[in-house]
Amino acid sequence: MKDPEKEFQIFVNTKPRKVPGPTISFERVLQEAGIDLSGQDSNLYDVEWVYGNKAGTLAPNQSVKLENGMKFDAGKSNRS
């Protein structure tokens, strides 16, 4: 039987993290990256993920299905 609360081993900004499944949100990725969104506009941040040959992005309020070993990158891209 699949356990919906099963933990997944992922990486956020290179750091290993254990998070509950089955999906993870944009906001939770930022939290795991140590980014405090309070008082900040979430559109300053990008979240991107890779897993094998698959890749994608998360916008605020979006989630993605977790896989063990999935890698996430969370941060800004607003400097010149």
Binding site: L44, K76, S77, N78, R79, S80
Partner: protein, 399 residues
Amino acid sequence: MPASPTGHSPDVQQLVADGYAVTIDGDYIIVDNIPYVTQARVVQRGAIISPFYEKDGVTDVKGDHAVWFTGSVPYNAKGESLASAMVANTTVAVIAGRQVLCQFSYKSERPETLKDFHAKLTHYIRKLQSYAQELEHGVSASSKGNGSIAVRQQRSVFIYSNTAVARSGLDVYENKLKLPKVAIIGLGGTGSYILDALAKTPVEAIHLYDDDIVEPATAYRMPGAPTYEEAYGKLQKTNYLKDVYSRLRTGIESHPVRIDQTNVAELNDCAFVFIAIDDGPSRGLISRYLAEKSIPFIDTGIGVDKLSDEVKLLGRIRVSAVDAGKSVLVDRLPTADDREEAVYNNIQLAELNALNAMLAVIVYKQRLNFYANEESFDTLRYNISWQSILRIGESPASP
């Protein structure tokens, strides 16, 4: 047209004196009216076109023996094809505005055939003409005393011409990049590298907007190597960069001001705009304005974070292309005010600025159909740690 050889180099003057119909069209020299034998053993006329290089009345063949021909593959009087003897290829192309049917590459044993343009062109003309004369006695490309020269100066933005373009016949590609006016907003690391690449394209005018001055820190982000005096000279970035790139080309305009509500309308006649700034609200104002005016633009951005425990940096690059009529994408740009002191303010990462700029210019050239583009996307994200470039379409991949 009466011959008026004044001011031309001796080899060009000699062609006219010999009685040839010569045209100099920008980076090409053309001789018209050259008789040759067709496959049907009929004498017809065609033009030979060669890349042309002249500076201060001195020409240079640059060791290039190839020419284009507007006629079909030539034959000798017996009806034997000269294809294997002198034709390099039969790719139909447009060179100097004319359709060419083949390219000749007949390397002579005699090096003097590349001495100058008279030697190079008459080498081909005599060969074609000699076979034609076997069929039609006295037929000739030249008529002594009736030589002519027409010069069509193509106004070039470049101070010295890129002769490689003419030589390779790539001007039909280059012409796609001849936009009337493009603006770069923000001339920091990324913006100055965008200028570096854009200045080398034949866009007519490049307008630079930035109210900042060159400082030692910014000098470490720019292409090239500013001198001590330049790094400490409190020069406006746009003035400094205009001076540097005006060594190469004309059409660079410096606006040492910040774009705001009062002057954003100066962008109205831009064919394209690059945004390379830090400030979110300015990015919002400019991008919303451009989207409303249906002016296509690319917004750029890099981000760097410290992995303090490992003493390493995480880095990412974004290129967002907003085509005319795609204003919905503006809402996804980082337009909020970012008060955080960026790691990036204190560390110089010219390679990230340069890659951000080059990806932006490549996407720009794809939008102009210069490069092939088989995938639709509006955003590229490069991630250093993964060494990947992610292409994001109009609707982000839903989870």
